[in-house]
Symmetry: D3
Subunit: 160 residues, 6 copies
Amino acid sequence: MGRFQPFHLGHVYVINEILKEVDEVIIGIGSAQLSHSLENPFTAGERLTMISKSLFEEGTGKPSYIIPINDVNNNSLWVSHVRSLTPPFQRVYSGNPLVKRLFTERGVEVVTPPLYNRKEYSGTEIRKRILSGEEWEHLVPGAVVEIIREVKGEERMRGS
Amino acid sequence: MGRFQPFHLGHVYVINEILKEVDEVIIGIGSAQLSHSLENPFTAGERLTMISKSLFEEGTGKPSYIIPINDVNNNSLWVSHVRSLTPPFQRVYSGNPLVKRLFTERGVEVVTPPLYNRKEYSGTEIRKRILSGEEWEHLVPGAVVEIIREVKGEERMRGS
Amino acid sequence: MGRFQPFHLGHVYVINEILKEVDEVIIGIGSAQLSHSLENPFTAGERLTMISKSLFEEGTGKPSYIIPINDVNNNSLWVSHVRSLTPPFQRVYSGNPLVKRLFTERGVEVVTPPLYNRKEYSGTEIRKRILSGEEWEHLVPGAVVEIIREVKGEERMRGS
Amino acid sequence: MGRFQPFHLGHVYVINEILKEVDEVIIGIGSAQLSHSLENPFTAGERLTMISKSLFEEGTGKPSYIIPINDVNNNSLWVSHVRSLTPPFQRVYSGNPLVKRLFTERGVEVVTPPLYNRKEYSGTEIRKRILSGEEWEHLVPGAVVEIIREVKGEERMRGS
Amino acid sequence: MGRFQPFHLGHVYVINEILKEVDEVIIGIGSAQLSHSLENPFTAGERLTMISKSLFEEGTGKPSYIIPINDVNNNSLWVSHVRSLTPPFQRVYSGNPLVKRLFTERGVEVVTPPLYNRKEYSGTEIRKRILSGEEWEHLVPGAVVEIIREVKGEERMRGS
Amino acid sequence: MGRFQPFHLGHVYVINEILKEVDEVIIGIGSAQLSHSLENPFTAGERLTMISKSLFEEGTGKPSYIIPINDVNNNSLWVSHVRSLTPPFQRVYSGNPLVKRLFTERGVEVVTPPLYNRKEYSGTEIRKRILSGEEWEHLVPGAVVEIIREVKGEERMRGS
């Protein structure tokens, strides 16, 4: 579960670690309805394509579901909302305190995933670099570089 | 694009026909927010699992995206809504007159897919059979039978 | 759980029967956002006042919660929606097949309440009588007659 | 207040009659969010353009406001919704029983406008004619014929 | 009218003062849809239970209505929204400038309630204390301590 | 396209400049659903009346459409939303970076309008002056002064 703005090598690392423990992973794209802002530049469709193409390029070959999840603006409904959109699951991997709390209150096991070089492999850092014109391409899979180029994501973020 | 209530062998046939023409297919699950009614018994997550497991069992092995699409209750926004949730696409396969009209007005090519034994391989027919206790299992992939059993879909529909 | 369009003596009877079994009852007013239509003539506030004043007049004196519940247009979210608006509860009394199914799937015990003279003590019957100018006042508590008079409910329904 | 699907000569007649009594008229386009269905084929923008161009062609020259009004799906909020979108008004012209009831309950004077040849000059009749290929052009202002042609409204309705 | 995050002794004091002036009070729980955040930790159902049980323990015995009020995100509709959910009322007690303004513009009398030791008896102060592990139990009715314990409200807020 | 909180002489200047280039202008009132806050004190109806009366007083006499546009909270849908509410247009005038980006991505020409004395003729500046009791009347058309007086806009903003 993440917003994946954008999908980066830290995410790839985490998913590969998780896939050592489980046979199948569901990747929920949060705040799916948001795009075209500094915090959330990419649409759900763009993010889904990034993840799918990157996992094909760099993943382990194990099956995965990639599912856009709209916000519901009512935290009491959110777990049911996620469950209604996904195959059944027994465990949630998330570092987000609200996500952890909401699933824990419903009795779902929550695991904080390992992070890899959180300082560079972070969406905030990558968005900052895109905005200021610094190099960012080495922090994301090749497929993500291509997609951001195709949708003119740099221009979108810089507003030019 | 369909509601897939439930996913059946007619859908499998159509997707296989389409995959002879294209390399990649996006399967949009319409009215994703609806479930637990006679017309729409299954949740988006259940339908997504049906499609995914069936294509794995019976599909051609070509890649496909399976994406839940909520209704927006505003036909003018629907094409943009679909585009925001999916990878880019050039052609739409649908037999639904409204879907065809909305995409055509935006300049997207729409193709009516071939139908296979529409009388039996139809969601309406299958839902009718489940409701009345007639045999329905031979009309859907094996994975769909399993999922409907697991979620007690027959009891859900019959209200017992 | 009911729509209470309007609250009538059949409801009073059922609530009194339920209060023989339990110490506390939560009365959920469904479709709270609907009003001013033939099917749903009264606002949630009007219905809440009807129930509260009637129970004061005719009830057993045991405590009860009366809580408006908006529709959510997504059956998968509805149980969580109800839970978020109410005190905790262990058992649901409802004759509505969808309500029964949704709670049963979440593991909540559902009991079909006894009905009392369902032919006359029915919202549909009472609305029909109001509309056609037949006598209806003997089918509802005195407090409900007063409230419908105050809000000019008969004129509202007849559109005059 | 009307849905204007489409704007026709009966509407022109009514507006001209009303403008004999008042100096200024506000034309509310109801169900503004609906389009591309048999009941509501045209978007709010298309309907607004129809009305504006027709009144310029055929109107009295008196000023008018033309304002799209989305449905709110909560009749209790609807009058406030209309008031928040329009200049202040003292009188409402409408033949719709629900509209009349909602404004009357808030103390607003409601007048049923005169109708002119309701059998032919009716949206339902005109939509039926467009759908079946009968002549409809003489029932609407010239500007409306042009706009329906431009947006390919006949094809949109016939689904071809 | 308040958010009651959580219900505290200052609220009890104010309600008792108001009940010296009036026979019946309606307590509207604002932002009912919010929960599980630092600003709004408790669900509407939890807050409603807090108020109900506290008034039973500490109240004057006069009747009161406790009604959850969702935000509508449109200030022009808010007064109609509140009226549609509540019994009729003639006077509003609120210290919130927006609430005061909205009711005043609709011609409803608004009274600023007396506040009692606003520094300690404040939701903000109590939430801060819960978060930092300071003592907070003496600032709320006993029933509220119990409910917060039952729903593990401290853990919810601290995210542990 | 603007929020027009309130409509001021800078807006009049810009519209007159634009009307030198084009025959017809559509004025979209953004965030139409917001009102009664410091950032957005006036309703869509009030803003629409301000613009209409001011253009009548000070405008060039060329035709214009004034159309309230609600936010949709989904940037991917916003251009389709605007198009569904307006007559067809070929060029957008806006200085807002998000508006510019969204239209540019859909292939619509966007022009940054000339600004006139941006320091004084700015909504932020005028709202600040109203709030603090400084003179603001010389910065807006006479019609706007009248409307703000009629709706008691100064009291609304100062919360007194």
